[in-house]
């Protein structure tokens, strides 16, 4: 192909704008590489650089400000055959900085062309993340209090595998863009340019001055040896391929029959680290083994290894509606902070509610049937108190029985863990 430019939609830039040069440079690069148009997509940001997608006869996606790299990543992951080229200005660089960093770190095979013209052209020449401190721009004095960033330096520290920088007027631009596209991995090419509509009106800037800026900045010419590593998509696919087993749903066969079973509400009050959720799970499995419907709500803090852990379980022969606890039939009080979390329920408990209280735990006054157990006397560690309590429940036939509990443990654990769990249970039965 001689040109990928869309003849019906010529470039619309201000006279002298460097974007025009970069449009032609990109076209020459595409011609040089002879990229198939239908396997090439230009993803553009917002602003003057965001017009690029309209100039070329390739696939195009023009999204929202600063986020071009996010669409580009989605496209490339979904279709690894695509050549994905992103154009973005210094505005998009600022607002979408997180995505630039993430792209550098990931090293997905995308090419980012940054069209740095030192200001927001479209909105009136306001200062951007690359505006020199002493420039006179449309932001009054604001840029005088900040410094510009060097995206190439940032990209290098963020792990970019290919970084290049040149003037948009550099004759080598097409070749440089082509090399960036050819690089397998994330490539950044920062072009410096003149915004003749805004920036250069008050800030003298010429192609020669741009060349001087390039000379004054640390040189960047492509591959960054120290960041060299496999391309993200390849790496991702290799890792994902090792995941072969689809996790099927936990499904529990009915294994025992219960006559006249009434809905049970079990509340386990404990602390993080006491395996409260696992105990709740086992109670649910016990119900499922008897063909019952179950539901379980857990309440814990966002802190993982501290604080209360509360599990609330319903076991019912009927389909469960409201999944909260209204009238508990069993309460396991295994830690003070767990009890504190639900202290209001104790006054409401009925005389036939079974409350198992560990000896060290204090509970509010209640009419319920309270049984105190000193698990330390049974040489049961704190992390097994909840499990041991299930043994007590089974023995007293409160909500579950021994057959249900045995089936539940068998379904929930592997043989080894099952036998260890049964040892604890047997101490209580």
């Amino acid at each position: 192909m001689n040109s990928y430019l869309n003849k019906t939609r010529p470039s619309v830039y201000c006279p002298g704008c460097t974007h025009e040069k970069i449009t032609k440079g990109l076209d020459k690069a595409l011609v040089k590489l002879n990229l198939p148009a239908d396997k090439t997509v230009i993803v553009t940001d917002i602003g003057c650089s965001g017009l690029f997608d309209t100039f070329f006869n390739v696939h195009a996606l023009h999204g929202i400000h600063g986020r071009a790299l996010t669409y580009a990543s989605g496209l490339k992951l979904a279709n690894p055959e695509l050549n994905v080229i992103v154009t973005m200005g210094d505005g998009g660089l600022g607002i979408g900085g997180a995505h630039v960093l993430a792209s550098c770190r990931k090293n997905l095979d995308l090419t980012l062309i940054i069209l740095n013209n030192f200001n927001f052209g479209m909105t009136g020449g306001q200062y951007s993340a690359t505006t020199p401190t002493d420039a006179i721009v449309g932001s009054e004095f604001l840029n005088h209090a900040e410094i510009p960033l060097d995206i190439c330096a940032i990209a290098q520290s963020a792990g970019a595998t290919y970084i290049d920088r040149c003037s948009g007027h550099d004759e080598r631009l097409p070749g440089k863009i082509a090399s960036a596209i050819e690089h397998k991995g994330f490539s950044i090419i920062e072009t410096l340019g003149m915004c003749t509509g805004r920036y250069t009106k008050k800030n003298p800037l010429t192609p020669k001055a741009l060349d001087q800026m390039i000379t004054d900045l640390p040189a960047k010419n492509g591959i960054i040896e120290k960041n060299k590593r496999p391309e993200y998509g390849d790496r991702y696919r290799a890792l994902a391929k090792e995941r072969k087993t689809f996790p099927e749903a936990v499904t529990i066969e009915k294994q025992t029959d219960l006559k006249n079973y009434q809905q049970q509400e079990v509340v386990i009050l404990g602390s993080a680290g006491m395996r409260i959720v696992t105990a709740g799970d086992i109670v649910c499995y016990a119900g499922l083994c008897a063909g019952m419907n179950v539901s379980m709500k857990n309440d814990y803090n966002i802190t993982v290894l501290r604080g209360q852990s509360v599990s609330e379980i319903l076991i019912s022969p009927e389909k469960i509606g409201y999944p909260g606890i209204e009238s508990p039939s069993v309460v396991l009080a295994l830690s003070d902070e767990g009890v504190q979390r639900r202290k209001k329920i104790f006054a409401t408990l009925k005389p036939d509610t079974f409350v198992l209280k560990e000896r060290s735990v204090t509970i509010p006054e209640t009419n319920a049937d309270v049984v105190e157990i000193d698990f330390r006397k049974f040489k049961i560690k704190k992390q097994d108190w909840a499990l041991a309590s299930l043994g007590v429940m089974a023995k007293k036939e409160k909500a579950i029985n021994k057959a249900m509990l045995t089936y539940a443990l068998k379904s929930r654990f592997n043989e080894k863990v099952y036998l260890i769990a049964m040892e604890t249970i047997e101490k209580m039965i």
């Binding site: 939609r9 148009a37 239908d38 997509v41 993803v43 997608d53 696939h59 195009a60 996606l61 023009h62 999204g63 929202i64 986020r67 790299l69 996010t70 669409y71 990543s73 989605g74 496209l75 490339k76 992951l77 979904a78 279709n79 695509l82 997180a98 995505h99 960093l101 993430a102 994902a240 995941r243 072969k244 087993t245 689809f246 996790p247 749903a249 936990v250 499904t251 529990i252 066969e253 009915k254 799970d281 649910c284 499995y285 119900g287 499922l288 019952m292 419907n293 179950v294 539901s295 379980m296 709500k297 857990n298 814990y300 803090n301 966002i302 469960i320 509606g321 409201y322 999944p323 909260g324």
Partner: protein, 371 residues
């Protein structure tokens, strides 16, 4: 019979897989994280892609890119993440990019309570994008619904080429419960209508339908843009073209609203009260209904599973014989405003609660009996 046991978030992920979802991008947030965890375990063995975005905005961007390449994409978040999704949502809505978004709601505003449920975002989901273009919001009441509605959500997203929300709740997403997975009948899978003619204009469509799709990366060149566009996908300032497109974005969903109205109702003869609810609250309402019936004071219940577009015909038709309409919500009154708007000639009572705990059947009975 063997029952399956899973939390709503896992059921939603399984529903997504059943619907053919092959791309997920998300950012961890309680109480939606386990959707991400499940997708991360389920997608790779099926050849799908699951990635973590650097933030919520990126996650949406990845999904948008993947969807434009032809994937069926899912993302999941909660209130703070939905807030960050907003601009990308407007892009997906206006540029007709199919997506499914699970919002496992938590108590807001803002950071609010990560582990406390509420139906915080019901109006935000509808209006949290620019221009007011209609969106589709489905509300599950339990894990089974999460499974089934995920399939509906993908079907609607594909058919209407739009983002579809599943307005779940911490109290559904993170509640584990049993249901008979094997006996569930899922709706037939709807695939994106592909373009098959000669000259493709990416946004050329029937006046009340989404345009046929071709992927970016296929043989035919495709344009996608967030700018106001005509059928050719190029920016336009032609008022007629703009007006037609705006009308079509509205019409494609509005004209199908009867068909996409999902609900359950339990109408009791001799009841003068209709309780309308949705989400996890509906379960307490249904329990309260049973107790009231056993006390000889039957009430009827309507559980909405499609919240947006508002099922206006269903509401009008169902409410017709009732003297009293009661709306119960796990917030301080969001959707009740729609019901008041539609049932403007009815007496509407409201009870809402926003304190991090479920509304109990007892509370609902108190509301019904004390009026």
């Amino acid at each position: 019979m063997a029952l399956s046991f899973m939390e709503g978030n896992e059921a939603l992920a399984r529903g997504a897989i059943a619907a053919g979802c092959d791309f997920f991008a998300g950012y961890p947030i309680t109480p939606a994280t386990t959707i991400f965890n499940n997708m991360l375990n389920m997608l790779p063995p099926k050849g799908g892609i699951c990635i973590q975005g650097e933030d919520e905005i990126a996650s949406m961007g990845y999904c948008i890119g993947a969807s434009m390449a032809g994937k069926k994409a899912l993302t999941a978040t909660s209130g703070p993440g939905i807030s960050l999704y907003s601009e990308q949502l407007s892009f997906a809505i206006g540029s007709e990019i199919p997506l499914v978004i699970a919002d496992v709601q938590r108590l807001g505003p803002s950071t609010g309570s990560a582990t406390r449920g509420a139906d915080s975002d019901i109006q935000f989901l509808r209006w949290g994008s620019t221009s007011g273009v209609p969106v589709i919001v489905l509300a599950p009441k339990d894990a089974l619904d999460c499974y089934v509605l995920a399939v509906h959500a993908f079907n609607y997203a594909e058919e209407f080429r739009c983002p579809v929300f599943i307005a779940s709740n911490k109290e559904i997403g993170m509640t584990r419960e049993s249901f008979d997975l094997d006996s569930v009948t899922l709706p037939p899978i709807v695939e994106r209508k592909m373009f098959s003619g000669d000259s493709y204009l990416p946004f050329e469509a029937e006046p009340n339908a989404a345009p046929p799709f071709l992927p970016i990366g296929g043989e035919t060149l495709v344009r996608q843009t967030s700018s106001t566009h005509g059928p050719d996908g190029y920016i336009t300032i032609d008022p007629d073209v703009i007006a037609q497109n705006q009308a079509r974005l509205r019409e494609k969903i509005h004209s199908a609203r009867k068909r996409i109205t999902l609900f359950e109702k339990d109408i009791k003869e001799n009841s003068d009260t209709l309780i309308i609810s949705y989400g996890v609250t509906a379960r307490a309402v249904e329990d309260a209904g049973k107790t009231l019936e056993s006390k000889g004071k039957p009430v009827s219940t309507l559980t909405l599973k499609t919240l947006w577009p508002v099922p206006e015909e269903l509401l009008i038709e169902t409410a017709k014989p009732f003297k009293r309409i009661v709306v119960i919500e796990m917030n301080l009154g969001q959707y009740v405003n729609e019901i008041k708007r539609v049932l403007c000639d009815k007496k509407i009572m409201f009870y809402g609660q926003m304190n991090g705990v479920l509304i109990t059947p007892a509370k609902i009975m108190e509301v019904i009996e004390n009026e």
